[in-house]
């Protein structure tokens, strides 16, 4: 496992805080992460139910469970990334390098880094119906950038693919990814892909 210093933003005060991004999480790390995030997920669930918030306004990944992904990290193709800030896991991402290939016409069949899963800690979520502003932001951005970096390091020229949850589509579009239609094999989520040129643009700031 390697680590690198980065920064994320604490919402309160809008200040940049130092954090570490880890590359190469182990299965046990995912179990620990879920143990740390689980209670907050449950509390949020209870609050959402208690206030009768309509399901459509719930955070989309409320019921995820990272410990269920622990076994997948045993494969060479899978890489786990995590961000730690103030001694807590603030974001996690799982990428794969073999199970998906590029779909963009100009890149068809070439390898890419597929973002299997990306999530910021539940206390970072902005949940308007509960008045939760979220502690840290830019976590998702930093993690996604790590996926692009991984793609470059692997020799995939920055190609990245992912299925975005509905509320995240706009973000990935703005990052330069091309939507390639709904995928009925993935619960009709829209598949997005970043090509080499767009990746370079993204990394250049």
């Amino acid at each position: 496992m390697s680590e690198r210093p980065i920064e994320i933003i604490r919402r309160e005060g809008e200040i940049h805080v130092p954090a570490i991004v880890y590359d190469g999480l182990k299965p046990a790390d995912l179990v620990l992460i879920e143990r740390a995030w689980g209670p907050t997920r449950l509390r949020l669930l209870q609050e959402l139910l208690g206030r009768d918030v309509p399901r459509s306004e719930w955070p989309e990944s409320l019921h995820w469970d990272w410990s269920r992904k622990a076994d997948e990290l045993r494969y060479l193709e899978a890489t786990g990334f995590g961000i730690v800030c103030e001694r807590e896991w603030q974001g996690v991402m799982l990428t794969k390098t073999v199970s998906h290939v590029a779909q963009l016409p100009a890149e068809k069949g070439r390898p890419l880094v597929y973002v299997d899963y990306l999530e910021s800690a539940p206390w970072n979520w902005r949940i308007r119906p509960l008045g939760q502003e979220g502690q840290y932001k830019a976590v998702g951005t930093v993690l996604f950038r790590e996926a692009v970096r991984q793609s470059v390091k692997e020799g995939f020229h920055g190609r990245v693919g992912l299925h975005a949850l509905p509320k995240a589509e706009e973000f990935y579009r703005r990052c330069g990814l091309t939507p390639l239609g709904r995928d009925r094999r993935k619960q009709n989520l829209t598949y997005f892909e970043l090509g080499p040129t767009e990746a370079e643009g993204f990394l250049r700031d």
């Binding site: 933003i9 139910l49 989309e60 949850l165 973000f171 990394l203």
Partner: protein, 164 residues
């Protein structure tokens, strides 16, 4: 993509702020093709063993039964009940569920649905179970008897030769 130098540096703070703003406008950047089947609430309750377990525990306590007593009355293994209550048991045996239903005075059919052994008949049951779980107290406060039992066990642990 020739040089590595370009992306070894950290992104500028300005860029990070812009992206964070974008994140905020979009509410979320979660990605995950399997998000929906990894326990989304629409899925069968059987994927949420903690929910079934919580319910059984409360049904038991509502009848003022200890796990021991329940095990005895329902003729089920203590270990099995404990496993169910803490959500470790993904699919309890049909006989166990049936016995629990009988002993706790619950509808066997509904209980089967709740733990995923039977096809859900309607959305209402699932929602009702969730509502119940959300409103029920998590077991944070120990009753006097529980505290006594706990302290007794702690004593045994500290007396055992393996403890350092």
């Amino acid at each position: 993509m020739s040089t590595d130098a370009r992306f070894e540096d950290r992104p500028s703070r300005e860029w990070l702020r812009r992206m964070a703003e974008l994140e905020d406008r979009c509410e979320s950047v979660t990605a995950g093709g399997l998000a929906h089947d990894l326990g989304m609430l629409e899925a069968a309750l059987s994927e949420e063993p903690w929910l079934f377990g919580r319910f059984i525990q409360f049904a038991r306590r509502a009848r003022h039964l200890s796990v021991e007593k329940l095990a005895e009355q329902a003729d089920i293994d203590i270990a099995e009940i404990l496993g169910i209550e803490c959500g470790a048991n993904m699919k309890p045996a049909p006989r166990t569920v049936h016995k629990l239903a009988q002993t706790l005075g619950l509808s066997s059919g509904k209980l089967m649905e709740l733990c995923g052994l039977a096809e859900p008949q309607d959305e209402g049951l699932r929602l009702a179970a969730l509502r119940f779980a959300a409103r029920s107290e998590p077991v944070t406060e120990l009753s006097a008897a529980e505290r006594e039992a706990f302290e007794e066990f702690v004593k045994v642990l500290s007396e055992s030769p393996e403890s350092i």
